[in-house]
Symmetry: D2
Subunit: 428 residues, 4 copies
């Protein structure tokens, strides 16, 4: 009987991450994952960006245990609850108000990123009376049919089984290289009544494309995109599910860009504790929903309200946390650049922003080999990108400098091993 | 400043249940909801069927707190975890194996019912290579675009903003009255190459339609439906999200009907504690997913694994719980029938099965008035049905006979009040 | 070198009727088709209902030759032309005005039935702002994607290659037998806000289903359908492409039913000469088209205007022609009933209305065999129906009684031959 | 009573060309249109490219009258007919064989360009098993729903009323200027498994975009496009409905480009006489249609077979006609360039190829004003282009040099009038 028998016998073959990390995890603390046998791994995956504050953060954990012990309401549909009220008040006071978004209201969608995207797209279509949505090459917005239509990845699209309709695909920033102005392209298509691009309700965009391979949009591109939206009367939806909650060095990924999205989706690290939770934020005048029009059983996850509120109070009432992210991001970037210089061919380079960075490899096989080598050395890390060619660092933002150093040493060794093998195999 | 200011200021107008129950809940225990001010309500809504084991069940709560205190892994994507392994083993041993479903495998979809429906429909389409799905009048399967296409409710469909494609709508059991054989109708349509109903990949059906108004399918109808599926090479998907986990008196709602669905969706009460959790079960030979084809950040909610496992061990290892549900269901039914006889016009009658029953009212306004009166008297209860005309009892299955009696007294009083007013207003 | 080499070498395998009638036709007069070798066949196919006035009717032919010799405008897009003006005036005076449809305006769509259906559906959707269309089991409305969505036949639907969206399929009159009121079924589905049938823009219906197998709707059913349309604010579209232009004994198939369709499509026999021509008629207040919104190169086929006008003047200025159709229809029906009685098993019976009648056979193989035998004996006749089980008579309305007698003798002989073989093969 | 009363009373407001040319045409000969009152206009519209051989060409007219007088079969569904056989043999011998397309088979679709496009798209999807089609900015392929999805024009798309699905829009040659390689862009999108562009069944392209404003693709671009199709396993469909049948100086518009489209659509001038007629040509191995899968009542228009065959024999058995087109095209171009130089602002320039050329005006209002002035001076001419800014010359190819000279004098005068007014109004 092997160790994974229960999984292999009873779980669908759709399981995937476990194939890269064939161990059984039991505990987790901060930036570390611990197996049933007690072996510890540094976590550079962090729930694909869901564990920005690390595993079982003591402040959040205490808040949740206290709440449980006091028989706090767990499940509340969309009834009023004490925990929800505190979240609403805190999120408004700590996050929205100081960032000039005080007039954005909060919708509690179903507790997944895909669900918040579905809600955002529905709302944009309802408010504008139009169906078409612009989404971008290499964008990822979820796997339910409404969200999947906006997602670029063929692996996921191919399983839809139904038409993925009413989305026009446009080239992301720099998709055709630095010299091609993709905003001007869109403007031409949208200004041409015979281009075949139907007038869109909205644009949905990630400021950093997490699954798409850490492609970044500059502040200038985002400002131009916002202008384009205003010119063509389209709503601007920022999907900040992976890049938000501090990942890029500020709570929202677009904060210092001088833009004000009409609609924002948040999920992943929002609960702070890895609990399912998602919201949609939008300008008050867009709040044209009828009661219950988009619903779902788990849209009132009070455990998530509790930990999310604790996280907001603990991390975001001053700018220390943001500064620490920026500093660590810089540190990781420098270490990565050293790795690139040391092992590079030219196709090896650092991509991304803040603590959402990675190394672009010549191809997906090499990137996968590097992740395998890293895992053997005690580091959980994964790839992203259209060809899975980017080794992507999504470690908890609360990671220590020592842990960063250790992880980078491992990555260095993994690159050394794999890139040497590469050279050898090409030589022979 | 009123009590609900934070909600009214910062939450979207899409909120709905809170409009029926304008209080702020803070705690909950068993079958009781407790407001911030300490007022207690009997809960006949139970998270729309999510709290079959009541609020904060002590056994489950202890399991979760222990897990938290031990820094158990919370968020695990679809990596192997100790908690998941225990859930897999337990669910297989306690539920599937004894019910002849031992060869069904488990997919952890995103943690909402809608997401499990999306996964089920994708799988059915992928396996058969066909797009069309049969769903039923008054069926409810969720609000994301893929699931919404199968949902009947116009309130939700109207907000789609995109075509809801590739679903053929068929009449549910007794939809056209007791004398019309809706299975024969479907057979005729499916056997006719010019009927315009494209050959379906699958049929998706609820054995009791929760949102649709407690419409029930008989064992005979379900067996004929299964036969129809075999005849026309369609997969049979039972959506047991609301009717499953014991609600009708057995773990699955179809258990004693002698059928074996190809695919089953479960969510709501599956975690036992109100935590977001959903799975899809299907025959091993249908497991043709490629790794990661349908994914989602929260498909490994380990807190839910822990409480679900505890619930399975506590409630389902012998038949006592099932028997108690049947007994309580009978008790509630008898009390409801008394209410009906006492206050009835003829259009008042009892509907449903097990502890998923309710009273059909002459119209939605009357049903709403009754729920309002009940709430004023200390009972949280809601309507369902195509015209919201059914006062629906979804109390926790662990409710005591005393609580049932108290709730029924309240309901009796509410009917008395409203039905008298009705008579008065018609007289005047 | 065989006779059909050019076709077999250079024409696509999609060709179909030629497979049933493997001869090369060169000339045609009245109700007769004449091969290159001079062999004459009685035509009981009549271009699938396109040659109601027979082949090369001398009056129409003269009008067309005169027009040609005078260099009359042939192709005019939608410019004003003398021939079009005469058609407009004549159609209004001779057809619309006397039938109480004097306020219906005429749209010249592309010159095919499918194109007029596309236009009708577009207009209904535009005017109502809704997308859904009700069409019926066994309905046939054309093979372009918009029309195909409303068509029932799987042979054609299967080749769509894209989703056939926004059509709800309903059971035609008597689809579930004489005792099932399909209008009441529709009413229930349309009155139920949770039935899953989205509020339709329109209903599209054939009064006699030509391709669907000569299924007929009674006057009562049509009146109820019209009432249903008014009740649920749906437009009533009658597709009279095959059943119109006199086929059932009056110009429109619904004339004596006391209904007034909002939109009517006409094509096939409209030009009177077999020339491509199609129009859409609709109430003036529905005429909300913008200039050129639905266009097409051949929407001004002046040759068709000329022959159509000549046909209207020749056949429809008094009621003699209508009466003769009714008389011949009766004659054919009587002869068919004799055939049925003579050769029948019980599954053999006469179907249809006016000169759109046929014999229902036990199955499609038998019906095909009968048509083959008839062809060998000098009669061109084809099947229709969901299983191609109906031997369908669509002879020119101008056919002589002698020709009818001769054709019926042939049919009798064909039935004798095939039904005897049937009995023999079942006996052995 | 005004002259147009019958039209205004009885024809739908969708009529459009008649608004530009408010006269009633009665006769037409060669390149001239003659009103009821006997006034003659030079025809620079030619049925939007349908009258390449002019109106009532005597050779074709004689063939048709002879056929009529001999009671030739007019309407034949897809039965074998003598006239069809002669067309098949002649088209193969005169057109296909000499151009290296001898192995392409012919499908007779419904007799409109849109119908042939519908058939072509269905076939491409059927053969490849894929749904997505690439079509281009400013492309026009017809107004039925399947074809409309590939059409760019918003005026037409906006009237669809249903989703226009399964088409990815790509930039045509030079759409983003001479320096942007749109083939490379497509290649990048198609090579990227996460671009969001689903693998297409086919590309549909016009070599000259007639309705789109006379945009031309170079031989090099077309060759690269063909290569792209081969690389990504997509079929190449050339829609030669407007640009084919000699319009650009050779029978097919792509003839001298060294490419071999998998599928070609032809209509408009194919019958040679303005009669409704359309075909689809495709490589024999793509002929995977089942009999009758895509059908239509008028797919056997024998009058069109007769005139088309006569036109092929008369015009295409040697290269004199092609050479005369090239010479006249050159002549028109030179005259247009003179007009441009004389009246230009810089935004005035000549566009197009062969006898499919026009003058780009600063905007649609100016272009419309010029056409109005030209009409007043005896010239029927229209605009095209995404802003209707191109004054488009589509005169019959058989026009005389004298008629060209006269038409150009009129155009010169119209430009003089309008451009002067322009300068005046800007000055004031």
């Amino acid at each position: 009987m092997n160790t994974f028998e229960q999984f292999e016998q009873h779980e669908s073959g759709i399981r995937s991450y476990c194939r890269s990390f064939p161990v059984v995890f039991k505990q987790a603390r901060g930036a570390e994952l611990i197996t049933r046998e007690g072996k510890s791994y540094i976590d550079f995956l962090a729930g694909a960006g869901t564990l920005n504050y690390g595993h079982n953060h003591p402040v959040l954990k205490k808040a949740l245990i206290d709440y449980l012990e006091n028989d706090g309401l767990t499940h509340g549909l969309d009834m009023y609850s004490d925990a929800k009220e505190r979240f609403l008040e805190t999120f408004h006071r700590v996050i929205l108000e100081p960032r000039g978004l005080g007039d954005h209201v909060i919708q509690f969608s179903g507790p997944t990123g895909a669900n918040s995207v579905e809600a955002a797209l529905k709302l944009a279509r309802k408010v504008t009376g139009r169906s078409n949505i612009i989404s971008f090459t290499n964008g990822f917005h979820g796997c339910t049919i409404g969200a999947l239509a906006a997602t670029g990845n063929q692996h996921h699209r191919g399983a839809a089984g139904v038409p993925l309709a009413e989305v026009s695909r446009m080239p992301y920033a720099n998709y055709f290289g630095k010299d091609v102005n993709t905003i001007a392209m869109m403007d031409k298509l949208l200004s041409d009544p015979s281009s075949g691009v139907d007038k869109p309700a909205a644009v949905i965009v990630e400021v950093v494309q997490g699954e798409g391979g850490l492609n970044t949009a500059s502040a200038e591109w985002m400002r131009k995109l916002e202008k384009l939206c205003r010119k063509h009367d389209m709503l601007l939806i920022v999907d900040d599910i992976q890049a938000g909650c501090g990942r890029t060095g500020s709570f929202f990924s677009f904060e210092e860009m001088g833009i004000k999205p009409d609609i924002i989706t948040l999920s992943k690290s929002l609960s702070g504790f890895g609990l399912p939770f998602a919201i949609v934020l939008f300008r008050r005048e867009l709040d044209q929903w009828e009661p219950g029009e988009h619903n779902g059983t788990f849209r009132g996850n009070n455990h998530a309200f509790v930990t999310a509120t604790a996280a907001l109070e603990h991390f975001w009432t001053n700018d220390e946390f943001a500064k620490s992210i920026q500093a660590k991001g810089k540190l990781i970037k420098e270490r990565m650049q050293k790795i690139v210089r040391k092992h590079g061919p030219d196709s090896l380079y650092v991509k991304g922003r803040g603590m959402m960075i990675g190394i672009n490899c010549p191809d997906g096989d090499i990137a996968a080999a590097i992740c395998r080598e890293a895992f053997e050395r005690g580091l959980v890390i994964e790839t992203s990108g259209n060809h899975s060619q980017v080794v992507k660092c999504l470690c908890p933002l609360i990671i220590s400098e020592e842990q960063i150093a250790k992880a980078m040493d491992i990555l260095d060794a993994a690159f050394a091993k794999v890139m040497t093998e590469q050279v050898d195999s090409q030589a022979s």
